[in-house]
């Protein structure tokens, strides 16, 4: 089985979720080629070999520096043909998921997104997907010869399994029509840990009483190397930016550790966090429903508990 992995980069660095996609493909046990587009650090490209790629393809065309959905789809299809690949693996993301859909349609491939585990191949080719916003799973047989798999964060563990490989340059045909949707600007918080990709998330809710009280949330996030999130009411009233909204209609996260402070735990919020490995809830209301979904809980005032927690984390380092 030949597998192509599309790896995404941001500011030249390969994204961790894409390394998980490489690890996933390696775990499937086929011949893995990774494809990166646009300007990417040479060391990051070579290191894809360490994580399981036998071959690294790089299309360095500057027109691919922005994530143009149609152009990326067309380049990936060309790479699949060049590599004679049966399967495309990529990470679910604002770019990866739309690209997966267009590639699957061009190839007549079976498609599955939000995949959480390696496929079972004893009888057919069966993947497990997260559905109902994390409230359930489905097992889906992918029947077509070609397959496109978009994995959810934490579907595979990134491990060093090989050595650096020298990237090969890949020169796709690019048509003007593929650039019909023109990206005019990108506004991005730089230097921060991105919420959908973070291993630890610290979120605040209305219990924080106002945007001016976010300091302890941010400080705890900083000492933990975490991203900050918030509940829907908090982003609705503008205390925090919309891209921090965690929940059913916001960002769905699946970090190792999710710390919720002053969030009561409405079912819509839980839907966005229920695939976290470990959940800590800090709330002054002992009856907050969130405690039922938590692994660890502290009943207490956020402004009393957070400074102590920040000190305790610092002391444990």
């Amino acid at each position: 089985m030949n597998i192509l992995v599309f790896v995404e980069s941001a500011e030249g660095k390969i994204k961790k979720t894409s390394l998980e996609a490489v690890a996933y493909a390696h775990g499937m046990g086929g011949k893995v080629a990774a494809l990166a587009l646009g300007t990417v650090d040479a060391a990051d490209l070579a290191a894809l070999g360490k994580f399981g790629a036998a071959k690294v393809l790089h299309a360095a065309d500057a027109r691919l520096n922005d994530g143009v959905i149609q152009a990326y789809s067309s380049v990936i299809v060309q790479a699949m043909q060049a590599e004679n690949a049966d399967v495309l693996v990529l990470a679910n993301s604002s770019l990866g998921t739309p690209v997966a859909a267009r590639v699957a349609t061009k190839l007549g491939a079976s498609i599955a997104t939000n995949v959480t585990e390696l496929p079972e191949t004893a009888a057919g080719f069966v993947v497990k997907k997260s559905i109902y916003t994390g409230k359930a799973f489905s097992k889906i047989e992918m029947k077509n010869a070609k397959k496109v798999i978009a994995i959810k964060k934490n579907a595979a563990e990134v491990k060093e399994v090989g050595a650096d490989v020298a990237p090969e340059s890949f020169t796709p045909q690019l048509a003007d029509a593929d650039f019909a949707a023109k990206i005019t600007a990108t506004e991005k918080a730089t230097g921060e840990i991105l919420l959908p990709e973070a291993n630890i998330v610290v979120s605040g809710g209305r219990g924080m009483k106002g945007p001016e009280h976010w300091g302890p949330i941010e400080e705890l996030a900083k000492v933990l190397g975490a991203a900050t999130g918030c509940s829907k009411p908090v982003s609705d009233i503008g205390w925090r930016p919309h891209h921090e909204h965690v929940g059913q209609t916001g960002v769905k996260v699946s970090p190792q550790l999710y710390i919720a402070v002053g969030i009561s735990g409405a079912i819509q919020h839980l839907a966005g966090v229920n695939s976290s490995k470990c959940i800590v809830v800090i709330n002054k209301d002992a009856d907050a429903p969130f405690f039922k979904a938590a692994d660890y809980g502290i009943v207490g005032d956020a402004f009393d508990v957070l400074p102590k927690l920040i000190e305790a984390v610092k002391a444990a380092k």
Binding site: R102, I140, L309
Partner: protein, 246 residues
């Protein structure tokens, strides 16, 4: 201008999820169904565009069996002009996208809007498959959409920020907040929705590339371990040594 809004008919966001028939069927017992929340944003934006541009028509489309009709009537009550129901179970993303593309290909829609994903299967791919099938751009998740003649300016949410785009009509957009405020139907809307045209068409045959084997529920969560607010250090050591997440 002609706008198509595709809506899903999904369990309310507060629903408890259960399955029947040996975990092969969704248990709709006691579940209230709604217009998909993301589709609701798409619909609200379409109605805003209609209100600002005389002569604009908004058609809603749903792929679903007859019991989705109350959901479709609600979309008509919110302000869509007419509706199409493709009479089939929405079994998978490709199947649904094929039905939408088949309907849309000869109708000359300037804009095809829907939610970024349905909240039942969360595939997040129908808009992009429709775009590819029709050979037009598809953008998702779109949080802002402004029309300027035959062009549109969009904002697409990306990890940690947004991307601004310009694209000519027609195109497909998968929408999310804050593209528009949800609209609540008023009494006049509800009355007029009863008589607005709702056409039922039979599905085209599609060779689906996937088949469902079974559903599963996540394993039950163990009991929460409570820690005193006077002993926060214990939480850190549990996270380190027991949960092994630090």
């Amino acid at each position: 201008m002609k706008i198509l809004v595709c809506i899903s008919h999904v369990p309310d966001t507060t629903s408890k999820i259960n399955f029947t028939d040996n975990n092969t069927k969704f248990d709709s017992n006691g579940v209230q169904f709604i217009i998909g929340p993301y589709d609701d944003y798409a619909l609200a934006r379409a109605i805003e565009i209609k209100e600002a541009n005389a002569g604009t028509t908004v058609t809603v489309l749903n792929v679903g069996p007859a019991d989705t009709e109350p959901t479709i009537r609600k979309a008509l009550a919110i302000g869509a002009d007419d509706a199409v129901r493709v009479n089939a179970e929405p079994s998978d993303s490709f199947f649904v996208a094929m039905q939408i593309a088949e309907h849309a290909k000869s109708k000359g829609y300037d804009l095809i809007l829907m939610g970024r994903e349905s909240i039942d299967f969360n595939g997040g791919v129908v808009h992009s498959i429709v775009g590819e099938l029709l050979g037009i751009p598809s953008l998702s998740p779109v949080m802002k959409l402004e029309l300027e003649g035959t062009k549109a300016k969009l904002a697409r949410e990306i990890e940690g920020g947004k991307e601004l785009l310009e694209v000519n009509l027609p195109f497909v957009a998968g929408c999310q907040e804050p593209i528009a405020e949800w609209k609540i139907p008023n009494m006049r809307g509800i009355m007029s929705a009863r008589t607005k045209p709702l056409q039922v068409i039979e599905p085209m045959a599609v060779d689906s590339g996937v088949s469902l084997q079974k559903f599963e529920l996540p394993p039950a969560k163990g009991a929460v371990k409570m820690i005193s607010s006077d002993n926060v250090g214990e939480l850190v050591s549990l996270l380190k040594n027991e949960a092994k997440v630090l």
